[in-house]
Amino acid sequence: MRRAALPAALAAALLLAPPGAGAVGNPADMLPDPAQEARARAIGRELRCLVCQNESIEDSNADLARDLRLLVRERIRAGDSDAEVIAFLRARYGDFVLLRPPFTAATAALWLSPALALAGGVLAIWLVRRRGGAAPAAPAPLSPEEQARLAALEGEARR
């Protein structure tokens, strides 16, 4: 558990060791109102623990993650909306803190990737089919020999 408190650089050097035990959390840190606590968790899952490998602050044991968990709860208690809490953290730590990257010039292609991939695929299929359609590859009619064989096979399949 102490491992998580190591400075980021050292933690990165210890890559071989996964973050270890998941955050069990401390009930004392939680908000008394279950609805507010649920909101805090949902927000926490959108935020990255900055010193960890791809963990949300809800999942991480790092001290920084705990600080951020407390910060989120403090903002919620102060009456911030979900968007305001996230904006507050983004202003403080930059886009890196958001596990759901905001739509910007740097992420536009990423966010559009499902549509682009589908559109590209459909376009490719359409082009191939159009070309394939131009070149008639109609199957040659069956020879009597092949027809006999086909009849035999069909008989076999029906059996």
């Binding site: 558990m1 102490r2 491992r3 990165a12 890559l15 071989l16 060791a17 996964p18 973050p19 270890g20 035990a21 998941g22 955050a23 069990v24 959390g25 401390n26 009930p27 004392a28 939680m30 899952r45 959108e46 990255r48 490998q53 791809n54 963990e55 949300s56 999942d59 930059g94 886009d95 890196f96 803190v97 958001l98 596990l99 759901r100 990257p101 910007t104 740097a106 992420t107 292609a109 990423l110 966010w111 990737s113 499902p114 682009l116 991939a117 589908l118 695929g121 459909v122 299929i125 191939v128 394939g132 070149a135 590859a137 109609a138 199957p139 092949e146 064989r149 086909l150 096979l153 399949a157």
Partner: protein
């Protein structure tokens, strides 16, 4: 001495695989039967050499030979025997050797079971596998020698990361590697076909068993990994969209696409060029995974080694194999005429849709995984791409997939009408609706998981419809339909079961949406409850294992106030390496999990987190069902007797 013998065996394996990569190609090109046939003994010889190297490394670990650096860094004399053995592949060098061992095993099995392949084609396939084998053996010999000595030897090793001291490490990597390496076989088939300049239905028939086998193992490997993370990491999650998880998902998606398109090649001789491309792509993605895990270019919880020099070497291999494959493809593909026309709405069309969606999914996962790097490189921006992105971005692609997956198998080849296929799915649709209503009644309004349940039941229903339809249920007597169902080809059963497995897995994933959890600091005698279940802390005591000590909580689970079970989560401390792990306690009845984790203790109270996870076990059961479908399909007689009758067999056009 053992270390040197192992090193020598590796070098021998390298030389044999070099010979394997050259001689049979030469022989096949010149029509020299002796050289062509040399492929088989060379493949067997390479396996023997690599297997002995692996055996030597295992024996060094078992004997705790501290003159071997890899043993010093990853083992310890106090470790239980099982973890001494599995620890062999719990590190970069050893896991690379396991990877190569499995590759050699695959090459040898192509040599042994490929009796129905034409001799020249088999020689070319084996030669391509020889290139891959030689490349990775060179990688091991030059950058990652597992037999490196250390002198003077330290008194004992440094121990293995405690998270890896688990049965999961015994199962997960070998299964996963068989899956990864299986893509090398389909790649070799593709390249061999490109060298010959011919892809026909027989090619589809040869490549499909390997694609199915590789896919089935990959499915199992990913599932075991997910299950391992679920119980070991203590978060109660099953998929984290971690770069390394994504790296295993990418070849799985490509492999799924390939095994579907290979059906079209086999039955209809269409999509030939595309299937070859997919085979190249699947191997490329599997190598990319190897690169990501071992180069340290990405932040991941399970990065192996982060050594740029090794990364560059693997990148070089990746570029060589994939680039070479694509170059060959560019030269040869235009000459391969498409055959087997089909209408957009047809079985072929449905399989094309599968491929479109699978590849789009792969593109999204690929971009999402690498975007932090791209964004930094292209825009100088630091961004994080985490689970919220992947869940949102894959959603619009997964929904049509689940809809189309149900209707596809009901469509006839060449030309179909949409409506009759949909019409036959009324029972599945009703079942899905019923699933929705039941889930709503039990779990309450929670739209996403509810629609997930509906889609899952619909998929299972559609798979049942597929079998019932083929058996002629409703059109013939019950007894007759039963007999026909029994007589259906195993491949048909396999496909239906694998599709149903997707439904089962989806049911489990949807169930996660209804899961609830509580955290409480309990002193002995106090309890925390979710629904009908109550966890009462009896006490916390000390316990000890071979190389750890722990604090173990005893929880009595009450169900409707009656004692139901005892759960004992613990926190383990490993003095060697000074690490703490949480050992979750899980109580399952295969339809739901009770999950308990213990946190820190303070002032006589222990933090306990409990979860109630309805349907969670179905995630992994579903994956096993999928893999079973794959294995069943492999046992199909038509696949086993395949190849020999090249074109003849293809003309049969049997139902699939």
């Amino acid at each position: 001495m053992i270390g040197e013998a192992g090193h020598f065996a590796l070098a021998l394996g390298f030389v044999l695989s070099l010979a394997l990569s050259v001689l049979p190609l030469w022989g096949a090109a010149r029509g020299d039967a002796a050289l062509t046939e040399a492929a088989r003994p060379l493949a067997h010889g390479a396996l023997l050499a690599v297997a002995s190297a692996f055996g030597f490394l295992v024996s060094a670990y078992v004997a705790n030979d501290t003159t071997v650096l890899s043993v010093v860094q990853n083992s310890h004399s106090l470790k239980p025997l099982l973890y001494k053995i599995t620890g062999v592949w719990g590190n970069h060098e050893g896991s690379m050797l396991l990877w190569v061992l499995i590759l050699a095993l695959c090459a040898a099995s192509v040599a042994a079971f490929g009796g129905n392949l034409p001799s020249a084609f088999r020689a070319r396939v084996l030669a391509v596998l020889g290139w891959v084998l030689a490349g990775f053996l060179a990688f091991i010999l030059l950058t990652s020698n597992p037999f490196e000595r250390v002198w003077p030897p330290p008194p004992d090793g440094q121990g293995l990361n405690p998270l890896l001291q688990d049965i999961g490490l015994a199962i997960h990597p070998p299964l996963l590697y068989v899956g990864y390496v299986g893509t090398a076989i389909t790649y070799a088939f593709a390249v061999a076909a490109l060298i010959e300049g011919r892809v026909d239905s027989a090619w589809g028939r040869w490549v499909r068993p390997w694609a199915v086998a590789s896919w089935s193992f990959l499915t199992l490997g990913i599932a075991v990994g997910s299950w391992w993370a679920y119980y070991e990491l203590g978060w109660g999650g099953f998929w984290f969209w971690d770069p390394v998880e994504n790296a295993s998902l990418l070849p799985w998606l490509a492999g799924t696409a390939l095994l579907h398109s290979a059906i079209v090649v086999e039955k209809r001789e269409a999509l030939k060029i595309w299937s070859v491309l997919l085979a190249l792509l699947a191997f490329g993605l599997s190598l990319l995974g190897t690169f990501l895990v071992r180069s340290g270019v990405l932040n991941s919880v399970h990065a192996f080694a982060n050594d740029p020099e090794r990364g560059v070497f693997i990148l070089g291999l990746l570029l060589f194999y994939v680039g070479g494959g694509f170059l060959l493809f560019a030269l040869r593909a235009p000459a391969m005429a498409p055959a087997g026309l089909f209408a957009p709405v047809s079985r072929e069309g449905a399989l094309v849709l599968n491929n479109l969606l699978m590849c789009s999914l792969a593109a999204v996962v690929f971009l999402g995984t690498l975007w932090p790097m791209f964004a930094d490189f292209l825009f100088g921006a630091t961004v994080s791409v985490g689970p919220p992105f992947f869940n949102t971005a894959t959603f619009p692609l997964v929904v049509p997939l689940f809809l189309a997956m149900a209707a596809g198998p009901l469509m006839p080849w060449k030309r179909a009408a949409l409506w009759p296929a949909i019409e036959r799915l009324w029972a599945a649709a009703l079942a899905g609706l019923a699933g929705f209503v039941v889930a709503l009644a039990i779990g309450g309004w929670n739209p996403l998981p509810l629609f997930g349940v509906a889609a899952a039941v619909w998929l299972i229903g559609a798979a049942a419809t597929d079998i019932a339809d083929r058996a002629g249920l409703g059109r013939t007597s019950l007894a007759n339909a039963w007999n026909r169902a029994k007589g259906l080809p195993r491949a048909a059963w396999g496909a239906a079961i694998a599709h149903a497995g997707v439904g089962v897995c989806l049911l489990g994933i949807s169930g996660m949406g209804f899961a609830s959890e509580r955290i409480a600091a309990l002193s002995p005698g106090q309890a925390v409850a979710i629904g009908a279940y109550e966890w009462r802390l009896e006490g916390v005591r000390d316990a000890a294992g071979p190389n750890w000590t722990s604090r173990r909580a005893t929880l009595t689970v009450l169900r409707h106030g009656q004692p139901y079970a005892v759960m004992e989560p613990e926190r383990r401390f490993f003095p060697i390496g000074r690490q703490t792990t949480t050992e979750a306690a899980i109580r399952t009845n295969l339809l739901r999990d009770l999950y308990a984790v213990m946190g820190e203790e303070e002032g006589g109270r222990a933090v306990i987190r409990v979860h109630y996870k309805p349907l969670a076990p179905l995630i992994w059961i579903g994956a096993i069902v999928m893999a079973l479908g794959g294995f069943l399909s492999l046992s199909d007689r038509r696949l086993r007797v395949a190849g020999g009758a090249r074109r003849r067999a293809a003309a049969a056009g049997a139902p699939a």
